[in-house]
Symmetry: D2
Subunit: 332 residues, 4 copies
């Protein structure tokens, strides 16, 4: 459940306020140049505290590669990378230990496991995405070798599509002790035709699974997505001529397999559930309480989700690329 | 790639115009009453040719249980069920064997595998969903025992939300030699708190994967989904009092784990790619061609997707329910 | 649990006296020539009733390929093959339905599942190996393309190593209402260097798992096996010169990865547990009983295990061969 | 490939002379008391340098739990544990970097991956078993809760079965610049009836896979093992009366499922391949060379395999015990 992928298998571990977070990548191909400095940009991009738009919590994360790299290149053995947790004060969270914060996993974790690490959300914290960007950073190094590049951008904040107004939306929510969400679009270019498998291993199925596994993501669409459901077949089909596809409504995937066109994905990110505004909840004893979640919280998590979403797409593509090598087309 | 699930593992096989389609369910609990007649309603509901709204192709499908049932109950051994293909005329498809139909998987399968069964789309045909409803039918029998029920309905056709006008939308598309899509909402009631696992085994992640694995599905959302991205955190959070949750914007899932509220999912279904309207394409030699896909095709696949979507949710829930038993909460 | 393999994944189903037994192979490469007649020799070789040495039960098994083959070649889609059960009379087994036969799985299945198909052992019957030889037959067709060949022979029966005396050992056991076991040696030639993965995916680990999954196998050894434990390191190591390895004590595997030498495996097969001699047992109510298992049983299962063991090694090698393609050695 | 288990999934990482070795356990039940001091005894027992019988290399290993434990108990989240490598001098191994040591994985790793971490055998080193005893230590804490205990002992060294003479066998091999192997017997008591699954998830199949995944293990047998192949069926069957089984030739497993009797396993351990005696080999350029592997090597690895073998059996049983909970016997 904490492993993603079939061939490029990433196993994530760690809690928000535990000793360390990290990932083990099993199935990483040999020969890829890799060092901690390759991973720092990913850590940096997801880091909070860079502006008024995000939590001032300082995460001075330094990735440490423990295995699988020798003389500067991967060896084909498991690549373990971790980041020790620093700079948090667990005392911040003591007041919340008996409360189920609305919109958070407190209630469900407590019921499923009978206990939970309540410090900063423990395993359900957005901090778990540190593991994802470490793995995604390695995946991107691998994909680059094959000319595949992934990027993402915010296309909507709180329903607003004009990027000039994104910051205002966030700041006014913050001022009101509230939070906002938005939509991120992720694209991959350079994908060869043929990534993905029929039926349950469809590339779009893997992408949907990957994106929806990111906390706060509530919707995923490929290509024209929900808009496609409102069109005629003749409009939605991507015609072809000898130069290739004439449009890309499908978002680069047909029958679950990549077409060679850009892969296009959009995700809906919910507003951060931690808000200062008072809300009704219950405590672990079942008693009614009123909660105001103060402290260092992002009024909008969307800017930090961007790099995480890129990394998740990179993980799916790295997996599919290796999988496509297993086909043994030389049997005939 | 043709197996879905970790505990209630369904392996699908078969092509549109091959000898048979079927599924093997490994991990089906023992003791469930099961016979072919339990599966007929699911086969019936996905069957085409019931009205002017769907293809007149007659599929007289009779499920046959080959294993895993003894004296009317499952034994815990693999349940294999199949349906022999009848009533198709392969000759219908010979004219298409060298053409890549726009919006279909012909192009991508050919490139990935170097060959393909072109008769009726082969493995990429919607007919593969026979396997899914067979498995889903068994899953529903199992879920019923635990008071979990799944249902789905069409909530939009071609952008139209008034059910009274759904049929018109489909028939006018058909008259124009075109097709339309729509949106289906799927709900599960009676789920206990605690289904689903953190990080990559999140219930919403599994649901997204399941739904997006259905051909023609281009988007998935949970609870308020894309709408959630347009709201304030204080609006989107589901508050609680001693009676439980006061709303269900989350769609019954927090932190990837079920809350006990109804699970709510919506999927976007694209318009059927097979349209009579002429479209540009290429053939396997790369030459430009014009194609009109006649024959027995649904002008709108949405009504037939309803039962398939229900079955996919049932498969996810059956899997998660068994998974929740592995927790061994009695260790303390 | 009924699936074997990571890449060439075989899912087995069916009971001794159910409707049918079969296998679904997911991950079978495209382009392999395949028809039912390719599988008949494997079915024939495991068939009982060919001589006085085995049970006279007549199994007129005819394999039927249901999917994954088009125009005489595999398509890369799941290959489902089955055999309908014929020629058995369930009535034979009614007297045993409440008894736990010594050395059989009756007791353990009953406790694990709370119920069992008692007819002929149900799923625990040796008849389940029909699925294995169907899958193994396909694997061998695939391996042949790459010059890999698997064969096996009996090297010991009831402790006797002279093949001339094997038949006598079996017949005298039969005459005494008893049974005997033996040892089978399986070899693969033509394996390239590099099959198998470090640590938990070692080729010898997979082989041990495969062989021990065959009912009645109680021991597995690779190369010199248990004898290796009695030698000096200097004797057991395989030295090399420029022509290659100078010996093959290792049985073709070092560090879990194939060396290019013949892979050599031996398995210990226990005597058939069904014997006419009276034995103490209990019934499902816990009452003490005396049992004599008459009927159509092999006095020695070893001759029929030969083809099954070959097929299991073929499955491991097919899997490892595909896995070796996932390495993407071109990253540098 | 570096992950073991289906439910209690252990992912191992690290090289002999890399930064650290460790394991991530995904699926560890919540509520188990766990601290580093619980793992120290396992680390200690596999530690070399304790006597003249093993390598004087000093491994001052200190386990560090990074995640999955809160307030002294497991939380159900992944338990990551590592040990930093200390006390090794990589320079020791430079002379061997171009040589394929006989009986080692140097040759096969080089061919499979195109590169390898040659320092101390890298990933193929016996030092990888640090990860296994860390995981096994956690598994044992879990099994204890259910009354299951695992132990192992050496029953043969270099063909000698008298324990009094084991030390002599090892010391005389050492004096001759050579090495010896032996046989270890592992037992589990307290197992409930019903662990293990039919066909490919048989408990003995999992045990065989686990044991054979330990470097230097060349054979595995269950119960009477190879001896069973030399007996009559009537001798080998375990009869029952109302008090239970009257013997345990089967080694506690019937039909792949535990009987409730002690589980009995024996493994054949080959002599350490590193010997001072000169041996023929080739270098990476293919040139013939003579090698004498000096340095800190165990003349007999068997004493250190004991705890590793115990841990592997504990991992299999932990997995099977959780798996047995997934059966949902309450469906009827």
């Amino acid at each position: 459940m904490n492993t993603f992928g079939r061939y490029f298998r990433c196993t994530s571990f760690g809690e928000s306020h535990g000793k360390a977070l990290g990932v083990v990548i099993d199935g990483c191909p040999p020969g890829i140049e890799l060092s901690e400095s390759d991973l720092m940009p990913f850590i940096e991009r997801r880091r909070p505290g860079k502006s008024a738009l995000s939590t001032p919590r300082i995460e001075s994360d330094i990735p440490e590669i423990l295995s699988g790299v020798f003389e500067g290149r991967t060896t084909g053995m498991p690549v373990a990378v971790l980041v020790y947790n620093r700079g948090h004060i667990s005392g911040d969270y003591d007041s919340l230990k008996d409360l189920f914060r609305p919109g958070h996993a407190d209630f469900t974790y407590q019921h499923r496991y009978g206990r939970r690490d309540f410090r900063g959300g423990g395993r359900s914290s957005g901090r778990e995405t540190v593991s994802r960007v470490l793995a995604g950073g390695v995946a991107m190094k691998f994909l680059e070798k094959y000319g595949i590049f992934v990027s993402a951008e915010i296309i909507e904040i709180h329903g607003e599509r004009d990027p000039v107004r994104f910051e205002d939306e966030i700041l006014s929510a913050k001022a009101a002790g509230d939070s906002v969400g938005g939509i991120v679009e992720i694209r991959a270019s350079g994908c060869p035709v043929g990534l993905g498998s029929p039926v349950f291993g469809k590339l779009d199925s893997e992408i949907a699974s990957a994106m929806m596994s990111v906390g706060s993501v509530k919707g995923v669409e490929i290509g024209d997505g929900f808009e496609a459901s409102k069109k005629f077949g003749s409009e939605n089909n991507d015609e072809m001529d000898s130069s290739g596809f004439l449009s890309n409504h499908a978002g680069g995937i047909l029958g679950g397999i990549s077409t060679g066109e850009d892969i296009v994905v959009r995700i809906a990110v919910k507003p951060t559930p931690s808000v200062e505004k008072e809300q009704k909840t219950v405590d672990t004893a079942g008693d009614e309480r009123v909660i105001s979640v103060g402290g260092r919280h992002d009024p909008c998590i969307v800017p930090r989700v961007v790099v995480v979403a890129e990394c998740m797409l990179a993980l799916v593509l790295a997996d599919a690329l290796i999988g496509s090598r297993c086909l043994m087309r030389d049997c005939e």
